[in-house]
């Protein structure tokens, strides 16, 4: 007797459960476009990478380009600047990590070669946002203070970066980040 009742109940309920399940799946699927529309759109993503022509930049000169809303410092380092950076020992650095944006951001060693591209050691490409509280350090233009280490000087709270844009003195905890970039030719890089 009870089995028949159970069977009847089961058969009756299947359609209701099926209907509810299909409605639920549809409601969930419907939510995705509502959420995804807040993600960066195609126009924003098209500016995710930029190409920069390095040929006009003379040794000792630097330019600033905007990338994903942030300034990127590109400096053509002089041999002296390169040597000063390469001669620094990792133990002397407050932050010995390379800080290259990507999977190794927290681990790769912050030597000069860790922060530049092989064969293009004169080029330094860093995100120009102080890792202390976000100000833009000075040192890009001739005449601006570069700090004791010949790199950049953040006037907000006195952080000083060296010629590989690594923090040496002051309250900033980390070296300036290196954005993902590649050399397309000897004189052109693609950032992002």
């Amino acid at each position: 007797m009870s089995t028949t009742l159970d069977e009847n109940v089961n058969r009756r309920d299947v359609i209701h459960i099926a209907a509810a399940a299909v409605v639920g799946v549809g409601a969930a699927a419907f939510l995705w476009p509502l959420i995804d529309q807040m993600n960066p759109d195609a126009s924003t993503l098209s500016f995710a990478s930029i190409e920069v022509d390095l040929s006009p930049i003379q040794p000792g000169q630097a330019i600033t380009v905007m990338w994903r809303g942030k300034p990127v410092f590109i400096r053509n380092r002089t041999p002296e600047e390169i040597k000063a950076s390469q001669d620094t020992k990792l133990e002397d650095l407050p932050d010995p990590i390379a800080r290259v944006l990507g999977p190794d951001w927290g681990s790769a060693p912050g030597s000069d070669e860790g922060r530049t591209k092989k064969g293009h050691e004169n080029w330094l490409v860093v995100i120009g946002v102080c890792t202390h509280l976000g100000c833009i350090p000075k040192g890009q233009k001739a005449g601006e203070p570069k700090g004791e280490f010949g790199g950049w000087f953040c006037t907000c709270h006195g952080s000083q970066y060296d010629t590989a844009a690594r923090i040496r003195k002051g309250p900033a905890p980390r070296n300036l980040d290196i954005p993902p970039y590649n050399f397309m030719t000897d004189t052109k890089i693609k950032i992002g």
């Binding site: 009756r12 359609i15 209907a19 299909v22 409605v23 549809g26 699927a29 098209s46």
Partner: protein, 333 residues
């Protein structure tokens, strides 16, 4: 034997009279407009429509080589040419198209605006600095931006008022949303000689807009305008932009033999040059399709998502109906 009784004759007479009156009345009240835009068949029409990539590319060539000298298209960016659902050029081809044009950028550190080669993120350049320059350079009529032209025009019909509701139903049933391209195709292929009526000078005076000249009653086209059957008012400022073979096939895309070439009635084989050429109609058709894409770049995504959504909704409706029926079976209602 009487076949038709008095009553029958009266009924038939009444019906015939009513019928004649209806036809007469409808003749007097005929037409929604005096133009009739033909409905064309497009690959992107219908429930499962999609763009013909080769056609979009040919259409882009027509826009680039012919239309862009007067018409801007500033909502379209070069990168759109490589995105799915459109002509789908490769990233290299997109970069090359962009680099062909010069774009104004700046101000630079000296405060000056400067020119640089285009990039994929740039929008299609405008031929004029602003709308006033556009109008000044074109007899007072600024050529409109073409980005949305596929949706900014309707297809006028010359039908009786009582046919309208029938057409609404027909249009909905056949999901007719290609009025824009139909109009554009019609416009580009409807440049004709203004009509000349073979009537007397006295009769000609009764026709508004006509002038008796050289023995014929000719429609007077206003100075600077061109006679076009599709355009509302029949006089359009744009000079006929297309002609046969005005734009050639891109290297390697043309049909190679006369048989293949002329399978498409809007293509013509040029025997002396041994190549396939496109007629005005073909160029018009291709550019109209391209303009539909620029207006609705997400058309394919929309229709394909629609198929899934509709399938799901049909399933959901059936299940909910069965659920409702099961619940209500025992209720007397």
């Amino acid at each position: 034997m009487k076949i038709l009784s008095q009553r029958h004759i009266r009924t038939i007479a009444a019906s015939v009279t009513a019928g004649v009156m209806m036809v007469a009345a409808s003749a007097a009240m005929a037409s929604g407009s005096d133009t009739n835009i033909e409905r064309q068949s497009w690959s992107f029409g219908g429930i499962f429509g999609s763009f013909d990539r080769a056609q979009l590319r040919r259409g882009y060539m027509v826009y680039k080589n012919v239309c862009s000298s007067c018409h801007s298209m500033n909502r379209v960016h070069f990168r759109n040419l490589g995105e799915p659902g459109g002509p789908e050029y490769t990233p290299e081809e997109v970069k090359a198209f962009a680099a062909e044009v010069e774009v104004t950028d700046g101000p630079n550190d000296e405060g000056e605006m400067f020119k640089r080669p285009g990039r994929p993120t740039d929008s299609f350049p405008s031929p004029y600095k602003n709308v006033k320059e556009a109008a000044f350079s074109n007899n007072g009529s600024a050529p409109p931006d073409l980005s949305l032209m596929g949706k900014a025009r309707g297809a006028a019909r010359n039908i009786h008022w009582y046919m309208e509701p029938l057409y609404w139903i027909y249009d909905m049933a056949t999901v007719y949303q290609e009025q824009g391209p139909d109009y554009i195709f019609a416009l580009l292929t409807s440049y004709k000689e203004p009509p000349a009526l073979k009537i007397s000078k006295e009769e000609c005076a009764h026709h508004q807009g006509y002038k008796f000249e050289d023995g014929v009653c000719k429609f007077e086209v206003i100075e600077g305008l061109n006679y076009n059957i599709a355009f509302p008012g029949h006089q359009v400022a744009m000079i006929p932009p297309l002609s046969d073979d005005l734009v050639e096939f891109v290297e390697g895309t043309a049909p190679k033999t006369k048989e293949v070439c002329e399978k498409d009635p809007e293509q013509k084989w040029l025997a002396d040059e041994n190549r396939c050429s496109m007629t005005t109609a073909k160029l018009a058709r291709d550019v109209a399709a391209f303009l539909m894409w620029t207006s609705e770049p997400k058309l394919e995504e929309r229709k394909s998502l629609g198929v899934w959504v509709m399938g799901y909704l049909l399933l959901m409706t059936v299940l909910l109906y069965l659920s409702k029926r099961a619940l209500w079976r025992k209720v007397k209602h």
